[in-house]
Amino acid sequence: MIRKNQSIYQTWFWPFVLPAMLFFLAVIVVPFVVGVFNSFVGWRGSYYFIPALKQRAAHPFQAWVGLANYRAAFADERFTRALWYTVRYTLVAVVSINIVSLALALLVNKISGWLSGLLRTVFFLPNMLGGLALGYIFQFIFQIIFTDMIFGPDGLIHIEALRYMTQDSVKALFALVMLSTWQQAGYMMLIYIAGLNAIPQDYYEAASIDGSSGFHTFRKITVPMLMPSFTIVFFMTLSGSFKLLDQNVALTDGNFDTRLIAYQILRTVRDTNPPDYGKAQAQAVIFFIIVAVISLSQVYFTKKKEIEA
């Protein structure tokens, strides 16, 4: 009987899998492979180019330039600055989002009934809204509300550091972190809540019988049992922050040296004339490698902690 069914699944394997594979190949695999190839040639977008001879290439393979694009990518100061900016932003954003969402989850878990549902809904709402639209709202908040109303000379309290946040590289980083935290904390909070609810109550009962203090219980029971949730949230905030684009465009449009790497790659082709797609593609491949390495190592390390716990 089982053998019969296995053969049914086998017979129908390809019809069921093929559509997905075709889309996958067409939209992701083929462009990716072509992209990697293009990062090693002189590419102007609509035609291939041999830089050494300063002429068009009749055939793509003639335009091979080896690692020249990669060297140009790293030599491009805007690229390396954007990369460094993105790293700093990601560090701050990940910490911020994780702390806020975990704190929210812990607090919301103490509430029950209709208030709990309402709170969860309210905190999640920002996540439903588009990054571009939010960026415009927050641009106003930072430029006018923060600058003049609350922290200005005539405002509530005069804190110069919190003024003109969209017009300074360092301040804008924190502005972006605030925006991202506002938008994402609710989503991550839901994940943490799901994780908290998965911890068996018996553990807590045993701990309280043994006279464990609140903080001690938190460290020894809650934290280890939350590692799976932590892995997911960490993964999503880490890769998400590194790839951030819409909010970056809307909040500062990359002005005042506030370009994140995703936006920078987009602008690379506009920075030269004729556009150097080869260099931009090399930057994109570098981007991919960084994201892949970071994500994979993060998952590896947190999974290890999960097992240890």
């Binding site: 103490k110 969860r120 990054g131 709202i137």
Partner: protein, 286 residues
Amino acid sequence: MIGAVNKHHFLIRRIQTALSGTVLVIGALVTLSPLWLLLINAFKPNTGIVGNPVAMPETWSWEYVVNAAKQLDYFRSIWFTFLITLLSVALIVLISSMAAWILVRHKSKLSTVIFMAFVSAMLIPFQAIMYPLIQLFDGVGLKNMPGLILMYGGFGLSMSMFLYHGFVKGVPLGVEEAAFIDGAGVYRMFFMIVMPLIQPITVTVIIINAMWIWNDYLLPFLVIGNSDNKTLVLALYFARILAGQYGNPWQLIFPSVLITIVPIIIVFLFLQKYIVKGISAGAIKA
């Protein structure tokens, strides 16, 4: 002795709950404040907005909202975005559920390899693919709305297959075996029996994909750009650029952002129970 400990505990619990509640309510108000700001300023002239952003409008004049709707070609853009989102999500649900299911049921090394390939694609940032992708689709005449839908179909696969795969693993074989004994055909069995069983994760998949496709900026920007038919986000972007040449036109920006957000909020209010549940369920499965 035990009674005293219990009463102490009870009191601490009560205080904790009250404190948590207060902090959370304040947090909730802070969270909502930008949206409140958006609402009241969408009905004010520029001077009113910049002059006193937190004040209620002197008169709630609709002209700014109406003007914004015109600038965004509102109803056309909404319809366009809705169509794209609907078709893309339907496509994603169909092909990812079918593929994930068979990958779970047909246990083999090939299945594992294929699944890993799909999931690992989540690591590829869009920038690494975008230029070759656009070129490719342009070459076959698909740098347009249908092409956009196909692209979303491809991009939604990794995450959706991951979610479906995890969920289907938890569905017992018994029901399917019974159906086979009764002589059901594969397609019938999949659509009549399996799909209803995995409905919870389908809801999650729909919500997650609809959310990012509706709000997406980059892909429509590259594929459709500044053409007559634009998605809502794209319309907002270009309207902002057009008007923003002479300083910040807040009286256009605020109502524009407001009407961009309103459809989402309406949908959210109606479906929030399912949405929150769906996200939480997806989190557990992951």
